[in-house]
Symmetry: D3
Subunit: 249 residues, 6 copies
Amino acid sequence: MTARHDGRTPDQLRDVRITRNWLDHAEGSVLVEFGRTRVLCAASFTEGVPRWLKGQGRGWVTAEYAMLPRSTNTRSDRESVKGKIGGRTHEISRLVGRSLRAVVDLDQLGENTIVLDCDVLQADGGTRTAAITGAYVALADAIAGGVTSGAIRRGATPLRDSVAAVSVGVVKGVPVLDLDYPEDSTADTDMNVVMTGDGRFVEVQGTAEAEPFDKATLDALLELATAGCAELTRLQQAALAETPRERVQ
Amino acid sequence: MTARHDGRTPDQLRDVRITRNWLDHAEGSVLVEFGRTRVLCAASFTEGVPRWLKGQGRGWVTAEYAMLPRSTNTRSDRESVKGKIGGRTHEISRLVGRSLRAVVDLDQLGENTIVLDCDVLQADGGTRTAAITGAYVALADAIAGGVTSGAIRRGATPLRDSVAAVSVGVVKGVPVLDLDYPEDSTADTDMNVVMTGDGRFVEVQGTAEAEPFDKATLDALLELATAGCAELTRLQQAALAETPRERVQ
Amino acid sequence: MTARHDGRTPDQLRDVRITRNWLDHAEGSVLVEFGRTRVLCAASFTEGVPRWLKGQGRGWVTAEYAMLPRSTNTRSDRESVKGKIGGRTHEISRLVGRSLRAVVDLDQLGENTIVLDCDVLQADGGTRTAAITGAYVALADAIAGGVTSGAIRRGATPLRDSVAAVSVGVVKGVPVLDLDYPEDSTADTDMNVVMTGDGRFVEVQGTAEAEPFDKATLDALLELATAGCAELTRLQQAALAETPRERVQ
Amino acid sequence: MTARHDGRTPDQLRDVRITRNWLDHAEGSVLVEFGRTRVLCAASFTEGVPRWLKGQGRGWVTAEYAMLPRSTNTRSDRESVKGKIGGRTHEISRLVGRSLRAVVDLDQLGENTIVLDCDVLQADGGTRTAAITGAYVALADAIAGGVTSGAIRRGATPLRDSVAAVSVGVVKGVPVLDLDYPEDSTADTDMNVVMTGDGRFVEVQGTAEAEPFDKATLDALLELATAGCAELTRLQQAALAETPRERVQ
Amino acid sequence: MTARHDGRTPDQLRDVRITRNWLDHAEGSVLVEFGRTRVLCAASFTEGVPRWLKGQGRGWVTAEYAMLPRSTNTRSDRESVKGKIGGRTHEISRLVGRSLRAVVDLDQLGENTIVLDCDVLQADGGTRTAAITGAYVALADAIAGGVTSGAIRRGATPLRDSVAAVSVGVVKGVPVLDLDYPEDSTADTDMNVVMTGDGRFVEVQGTAEAEPFDKATLDALLELATAGCAELTRLQQAALAETPRERVQ
Amino acid sequence: MTARHDGRTPDQLRDVRITRNWLDHAEGSVLVEFGRTRVLCAASFTEGVPRWLKGQGRGWVTAEYAMLPRSTNTRSDRESVKGKIGGRTHEISRLVGRSLRAVVDLDQLGENTIVLDCDVLQADGGTRTAAITGAYVALADAIAGGVTSGAIRRGATPLRDSVAAVSVGVVKGVPVLDLDYPEDSTADTDMNVVMTGDGRFVEVQGTAEAEPFDKATLDALLELATAGCAELTRLQQAALAETPRERVQ
C-alpha cells in the first residue's frame, strides 16, 4: 500500500485536539484542531427564540461558519468587504446547523437559542468536519451551562446523542480517511460524513470530483468514515470528561 | 404495503415530461415536469470563457437555479428585491453546475461557455433533481448547436455521458422514489442522488431530517435511486431522439 | 403602405393568447402571449395589509415585474446575483402596480393584499403591456376567489373597470400598433398606453427615441392605441367568460 | 375660474430662476429654482467614454438624480445608507438622461462623456422638470467648455436644440401648469412633458392618479405644457446669454 | 514668515459665513461656508426616539455627512449607486454626531430625536469642521423650535454649551489654521480639533501624514486651534443673535 | 490614590504577550494579547501592487480589522451576514493601515503589497491598540521574508522605525494607561495614541465621552501614553529578537 504524503495509513485520522473554554465570554467554546486545520467554535446561549418560533415552547440551534482571510495559503477577500456571503460559506453554515440540530431535542431545550460560530483560523482540509466535531463540544458546554443557570429547566435532556464528522475520499485510487488540503485538492471523490455517537448517519455528502464512483467505492468510504467518526466520538467524550480551565466571565 | 398519497408504488416516478425547445432564443431549452413540478431550463452558449480560464483551451459549464416567487404554495419574496441570494439557492445552483460538469469534457468543449438557467415555474418537490435532469437535455442541444455552428470543433465529443437525478426518502417508514412536496415535508430521511447514464454516482446527498439513518436504509434508498435514474436516462434519450419543434430565432 | 416585417397591417395586434390558471398554487394566474412575448402573471391573495395601511379598512394591490435571464436574445445577468434591481425593472413594476390600482376600489377590497408577479419567460417586445393585460385577468380571478372564500365581503365590488395596455410607435415613418422587438429597436417614437375598459387613459408614456415628435403624430399613435386596447379588452372578457381548467391546489 | 392656492392663473409658471456657475469645480453648474423647488445641476465633462462605447467616435451623456434627505417636508432615509436606490430615483435619473440625449448629437460630441448630477436641495413639486430644465443649461456650458478646451473638435455642433420640461395636471377639475407640492398631491391627473426648443415632444408621461382621463383632458394638458415649455426655453436662452460669474477653478 | 498661498497669516481663518434658514422645510438649517467649502446642514426634529432608547425619558442626536458627487474637483461616484458607504463618510458622520452630543443634555431634550444632515455642496478642505460648526447652529434652531412647539418641555435647557471645530496642520514646516484643500493635500501633519464654547476639547484627532510629530508641534497646533474655535464660537453667536429670514413651512 | 479594579497602578500596562508565527501560511503572523484582549494579526505579502499604484516603483501596506461575532460579551451579528461593514470597523481598519504606513518607506518596499488582517478573537478593551502593536511585528516578519525571498531588493530598508499604540483615559477622575473594557465603558475621556519607536506621535485621537477635557488633562494623558508606548516598543523588540517557532509552509 502506498503511504500517504504525511505518513498516515489510509484509515488514520490526523492528530485531533479539542481545547475547551478557549474563550472567556462564550457560554461554550472550543479550539478544535485536525492536524493543522484549526477552527474556533463559540456557542452563544441566549434566552428566547427568533420571532417565527415564539410561543411554541421549543428552542433553536443554528450555526455560522466563516474563514479568516489568511486562514488559507493565499489570502481571500473578506466576505464582509465584498458585501455578500459566498455559496460555499452558506452551504457549510447550513450543514453545521443541521448536523447539530439532529442530536438536539428542541422541545427539551425550551425557548432558548444557541448560535454556534465556527471560525476557521487556519485551513488545511476538513474545516467543515472539524467545525461540526468541535461545535458539538461547545454546544454541550453551553447546554450544561443553561441547565446550571436555570434557563433550561432542571431535568431536561436536550442532547439526544453526540455528533461528529469526518471527510473521506479516493486519493490516487485509494480510499482514505480525513483528507488534508494536499489530498483534498487531488482527490477523485470527496465525501463528508456526519454521524451520531451511536453510529448512524446524519449527513452523507459525496461528490465525484474527477470521475463518477460506483457502489463498491461508496461502501468502502462509508466504512472508513464510520470508524473515523467513532474515534472522534471517543475524543469528544474524553474532552467533555476533563475539568476545563475556568472561564473568567 | 401502504399506498402513497397519490397512489404511486414506492419505486414509481411521477409522470415525467421533457419538452425541448420551449423557448425561441436559447441555444437549448427544456420545460421539464416531474408531476406538478415544472422547471424551465435554458442553455446559453457563448464563445469565450471567463477571464480566469482564458488561454487554456478549455470551456466552462455553470448553472443558476432560482424559484419564481409564486412557484410555491405561499409566495416568497424575490431574491432580487431582497438584494441577496439565499443559501438554498446558492447550494442548488452549485449542485446543478457540478453535476453537469461531471459529464462534460471541458477540453473537448473548447473555449466556449454554457450557462444553464433553471427557473422553477412551479414547485411540488424535487425541483433540483428535475432541474439537473432537464438541464442535461438543454445542454446536449446547446452542444449539438455549437458543433453545427462551428464554435465547437468538428469531431469533438464534449459529452462523456448523460446525467440525471432523483430524490429518494423514507416516508412513514418506507423508502420511496421521487418525493412530491407533501411526502418531502414529512420524510424522515431525504436524499438526492445524481447519476451518470452508465449508472455511477456523481453526487449523493443524504440528510436525516427527523431521525439518523443506518446503512441498511442508505442501501435501500440508493437502490431505488439507481433504478429511478436509469428510467430518467431512458426518458432523456427518448426526448433527444425526437425531432423537436423548430426554434424561431 | 409598406407592409410590416411580419406581414401585419399597421393597426393589427399580434396573436394574443390568454391562458388562465396556468399555475396550480396561485389564486389567479395567466400565461399571456403577445406573439412570441410570453409573460407569466401570478396573483397572490393574502388577508391583511402592509403595516402602513393597517386599520384603515382598505386593501392593497402591487406588482413585481422581472425577466428570466434567457428570456431575451442574449442572456442577461440575474438581478438577484447582481444584488440589485435595475432601473427598468423598478420602473415597470411600478407601472404595472399603478395601472392595476387604477381600476381597483381599495375600500371595497377590504384589508386584503394582492401581489401580481409578472415574470417574462420570453421577450419579443411589449413585455410591460402584455404584463398589464395578463395581470388584470389574474387579478380578476384572485378577487373572485376572495369573494368566494369570504375574505372579501359578499356584495363588494372591488373592480371598477378592466385595464389593458398596448405599445404603439413610429416605425420607418409609419405609426404602428403592438411593436415586436425588431420594430421596437428601430422605432423613432415608442409609446405605451394603458387604458380602462371604458376607453379612458390610465397611463400615456411616450418617448422620442431618435427624433422628437409633433402633436399630429401623438394623436395618430393614441388613436391606434385606443383601438388596440379595445380589442384587448374584448380578449380579456372572452378569457374570463371561459370556464378555466381546474386549479389543483 | 377658481384661483390656485398661491394666486397663480392656471397657465402660469412659478418664479423660475436659473443661476449659472453656482459651483467652482464643475464644468457646468446651475442652481435652478421653480418657486421653492431648488435643484443643483452639475455637469462633469471627462474625455473618454465608457468601455461599451469605445472606439466608435461617439460620446455619452447621462444623468443621476437624487434628493437630499431633508429636501422634503419629512426627512427621508438616505439611499446610500439603505444601500440601494429606490425605483423613483432610478426612473427620474433615466428620464433626465434620455431627455438630454434627445438634443445631443453624440457623434458631434466625440469620445467625451458628460454626467449631469441633479441633486434636489429643496422639493416643492416638479423636481424632475426643474432638473431637466436646469441640466440643459449646465450641459450647454460644459459643451461650450469642451469646445474651448479642444476636447470637442472645433466646429462641432453637439447640441441640436434645447430641451425643457414642465409638469401639468388636473387639480380640482381644472388643468393647470407647473404644479407645486400641495397641488401635485391632490391632482387627479399628473403629466410631465419634455419638449425641445422647437416645440416638439421628447417625453410625455401622463398618469391618472385618481380617475382615468379622456382625450379632451389630455389635449388641454398638452396645450398648457407646450406654452410652459416655450416660456422655459426663453428663460434658458436668457440665462445662457448672460455673462456668468467667473468659476474659480 | 512665509505667506500662505492665499495670503492668509498662519493663524487666520478663511472667510466664514453662516446663513440660517437656508431651507424652508427643516426645523433648523444652515449653509455654512469656510471660504469655498460650502456645507448645507439640516436639522430634522421628530418627536420620539429610536427603539433602543424608548421609555428612558432621554432624547437622541445623530448626524449623517455626505458629499455631492461633484462637490470635489473630480467627480466621485455616488455612494447610493455603489450601494455602500465608504469608510471616510462613516467616520465623519460619527464624529459630527459625537461632537454635537457632547454639548447636548439628552435628558433635558426629552424623548425627541434630532438628525443633522450635513451635505457638502462644495469641498475645499475642512468639510468636517465646517459641518460641525454649521450643524451646531442648525441644532440650536431646532431645539429652540422644539421648545416653542412644546415638544421639549418649557424650562428645559438641552444645550449645555456650543461646539465648533477647525482644522490645523503643519504646512511647509509652519503650523497653520483652517487648511484649504491645496494646503491639506500637502500638509505633514493634519489635525481636527473640536471644542466647546468654554474652550475645552471634545475631540482631538491628529494624524502624521508624512512625518511623525513631537509634543512641541502638537502644542503649537492646539494653540492655533483654540484661538480658531474661539473665533468660530463668536461667529456662531452672532449668527444666532440675528433674526433669520422667515421659514416658509 | 484609588486602586484600579484589577489592582494595576494608573501607569501600568496589562500583561502583554506577543506570539510570533501563530499561523503556518501567513508571511508574518502574531497573536497579540493585552490582558484578555486577543488579536490575531496576519501579514500577507504579495508581489505587485493595486492598479492605481502600478509602475511607480512603490509598494503598498494596508490593513483590515474585524471582530469575531463572539469576541465580545454579547454576540454581535457578522458584518458579512449583514452585508455591510460598520463605521467602527472601517474607522479602525483605516487607522491601523495609516499607522503602519507611517513607519514604512513605500519606495524601499518596491512594488510589493502587504495586507495586515487583524482579527479580534477576544475583546476586553484596547483592541485597536493591540492590533497596531501586534501588526507591526507581523509586518516586520513579512518584510524580512520579502528580503530573504528576493521580492524586496537586497539592501532595501523599508522600515524606518517601529510603531506601537496604547489607550489612555480618565477613569473616575484619574488618568490611567491601557484601559480594559470595564474601565473603557466608564471613562470620561478616551484617547488612543500611536507612537513611533523614537517617541514621536503618529496618531492622537482623543474623545470626550462624558465631559470635555482641558489642556492639563490632555498633557497628563499624553505623558502616560508616551511611557506606555515606550514599554510596548521594548516588548516588540524582545519578540523580534527571539527565534520564533518554525512556520510549516
